[in-house]
């Protein structure tokens, strides 16, 4: 059942890629990601799942660059959630293989990720609204620098959290 969830996430990622762009290059990248995800599922390898997730991500960015369409926050958030679900499901598959599973392990995992999905949707909408409001007041030349600084800042915050937790 956990494997089905992981497989469904991988298929959803390919479908989202296909929805973003119909080009052959993106499809091939998506299929490579799918193959890597299948390997991760079969062998229970976390590194393969991470590599598949990065490959899907590269395909998605490629699709965005090729299409140059309007921003679709719903698709992007769904893509992010599907990536997370893929990673978590492969992780759980590796742990559950060759083990006795007692209690509603899968049900509770899915419930947690559903709550997280709803929270992400809310946070995403809020972030987009804030960004749209702030975009009008900022000079266009400072945007790339701000984006880079924001990215670096978020990575530093996460690193600090890791240091504290680990």
């Amino acid at each position: 059942m956990i494997r089905v969830l992981a497989a469904a996430s991988a298929v959803a990622l390919v479908a989202l890629l296909r929805l973003t762009s119909r080009t052959e290059v993106v499809l091939w990248v998506g299929l490579m990601g799918l193959a890597l995800a299948a390997v991760a599922l079969a062998a229970g390898w976390r590194w393969a799942a991470t590599a598949a997730a990065v490959l899907f991500l590269v395909g998605y960015t490629l699709a965005l660059g090729l299409e140059r369409g309007p921003v679709e926050p719903g698709v992007a958030l769904s893509f992010g959630l599907a990536l997370l679900l893929l990673l978590a499901a492969v992780d759980l598959t590796g742990r559950a293989s060759g083990a006795t599973v007692r209690g509603p392990v899968l049900g509770r995992t899915v419930a947690r990720w559903t709550v997280l999905g709803a929270g992400s949707l809310l946070a995403g909408t809020l972030a987009m609204e804030l960004a749209t409001a702030a975009a009008g007041t900022l000079p266009a030349i400072a945007s790339p620098l701000l984006a880079a600084a924001g990215g670096l800042g978020s990575v530093l915050v996460v690193a600090a959290l890791f240091r504290r937790a680990g």
């Binding site: 976390r46 799942a49 991470t50 997730a53 990065v54 991500l57 590269v58 998605y60 960015t61 965005l64 660059g65 921003v71 679709e72 926050p73 698709v75 992007a76 958030l77 893509f79 992010g80 959630l81 990536l83 997370l84 990673l87 978590a88 992780d91 759980l92 742990r95 060759g98 083990a99 006795t100 599973v101 007692r102 209690g103 509603p104 392990v105 509770r108 995992t109 947690r112 997280l116 999905g117 929270g119 992400s120 946070a123 995403g124 972030a127 987009m128 960004a131 790339p144 984006a147 880079a148 924001g150 990215g151 978020s154 990575v155 996460v158 959290l161 890791f162 504290r164 937790a165 680990g166």
Partner: protein
């Protein structure tokens, strides 16, 4: 109990970092949104999560088994606080196999939940196995943090060698003073009738032989042979072995030694043990059920310890290796030092029987069975036949046991004189 980050958290971090980098490079907001759920998940690390608490206990269905038997391990987990995911790794010692179920378990627990899980372990080989440690790994709700702990309890399982009932046993030449099953040549209290002699004052009326008395016209009594026990010393070769566990020559030798010990102890004999190898150890001859425990413990620990040094049997105290004892040397005869030790014992006048566990059959069973292997085994068998003939030329009774044929089949071949033993004490 200290917590640490899981590989899943690192994977999420890697993917989020990639998404942010690609967003900056492509100058698109979507990759940032892709990273958002991951960053939200990682943001939960800011909260100090309470350490989940659960108590683990386990029990074993039996702590004394014979080779090939199974034991059920039952693990009970009771949660003091909610545990989102607990991963348990039950004991699976080297040499044991899973009979049924899994030795790993994954469960979700609410506060107050008590969950029991069990699995079966099969022990194909003798030994003392430690089943006292259970590794517990608890994770937080999103699987980002983990806490590990080991529950250690002193639980061991002793797996004794398989025993086969034996009827044909090499008969000792000498007996000891204690009562046993061997008919001695000396006369006294016993069951087996011996000589007839004239009645003398002090003789019991129940010993009067009435038929002889009537025929000879005087009172005669029947004398009886004493029934004595003997000292048997099992000498186990632990210098070298061939084959794959649990069917190595040493495994077969240990099973043979255990079966012989049981059979001799059942005859009220005093049985001792010498393991002759890199490490030499011994058990003093004694009789009774407790002695079987001592011998079995000695056999459990028997293992090959390589050495260049040839051990001298003179180191063994005379109380262990008495000149009156029957020595049963159990060996695959792979190391010439053991053959030398056996010849030395024979030269010193010990009553000796050599039980040779054929390494050819054991090796053949471990090989794939190609024509080359078969040819090599046949040549080896020829060489060994010559070696055994050499030992027999020295006057040693050599019995060859080719597992998996029954041990009884090898012992039936022993042709020893039924000697009315002179030494009755």
């Amino acid at each position: 109990m200290s917590g640490r980050l899981t590989p899943l958290a690192l994977s999420i971090l890697a993917v989020a970092a990639w998404a942010i980098s690609l967003g900056v490079l492509a100058a698109r907001p979507e990759p940032f949104l892709v990273a958002l759920p991951g960053l939200l998940v990682l943001a939960t690390l800011a909260r100090r999560a309470p350490v989940p608490r659960c108590v683990v206990a386990h029990r074993i269905s039996g702590d004394r088994l014979f080779e090939g038997e199974t034991a059920t391990v039952t693990v009970t987990v009771s949660a003091d606080s909610p545990v989102a995911l607990v991963e348990l790794l039950g004991p699976l010692p080297p040499g044991a196999q899973l009979g049924s179920g899994h030795h790993r378990a994954l469960m979700t627990l609410r506060a107050g939940d008590v969950v029991e899980w069990s699995y079966e372990l099969r022990f194909p080989r003798r030994g003392v196995h430690d089943l006292g440690t259970i590794a517990v790994r608890m994770r937080d709700r999103l699987g980002l943090r983990t806490w590990e702990h080991r529950y250690v309890d002193s639980i061991t399982v002793r797996v004794y060698p398989r025993i086969v009932p034996l009827r044909s046993l090499p008969r000792p030449f000498h007996t000891q003073p204690s009562v046993g099953d061997y008919v001695a040549s000396a006369l006294g209290e016993g069951i087996e009738p011996g000589d007839i002699r004239q009645f003398a004052p002090g003789d019991r009326i129940k010993h009067v032989n009435w038929r002889a008395s009537l025929r000879l016209g005087r009172l005669h009594v029947t004398q009886r042979h004493l029934e004595r026990n003997a000292d048997v010393v099992l000498m186990l070769d632990t210098l070298a072995e061939v084959g794959a566990p649990p069917g190595t020559t040493l495994d077969h030798s240990v099973r043979a030694a255990a079966s012989l010990a049981t059979a001799y102890l059942a005859r009220k004999d005093r049985v001792g043990l010498i393991t002759y190898g890199g490490v030499m150890s011994w058990v003093r001859p004694a009789s009774g059920a407790t002695q079987y425990e001592r011998l079995a413990d000695g056999l459990l620990r028997a293992e090959i310890v390589f050495t260049y040094v040839a051990k001298d049997l003179l180191r063994v105290p005379p109380r262990v290796l008495s000149p009156q004892a029957l020595v049963v040397a159990i060996t695959p005869l792979l190391d010439h030092r053991f053959a030398k030790a056996v010849l030395d014992l024979a030269a010193r006048g010990f009553d000796l029987v050599v039980l040779v566990v054929s390494p050819v059959e054991v090796t053949r069973a471990a090989l794939a069975g190609s024509p080359t292997d078969d040819l090599a085994c046949r040549l080896w068998a020829l060489e060994r036949r010559a070696e055994l003939a050499e030992l027999r030329r020295h006057g040693l009774p050599v019995l060859e046991w080719r597992p998996p044929e029954p041990l009884e089949a090898a012992l039936v071949g022993v042709r020893r004189r039924r000697v009315r033993l002179a030494s009755a004490g």
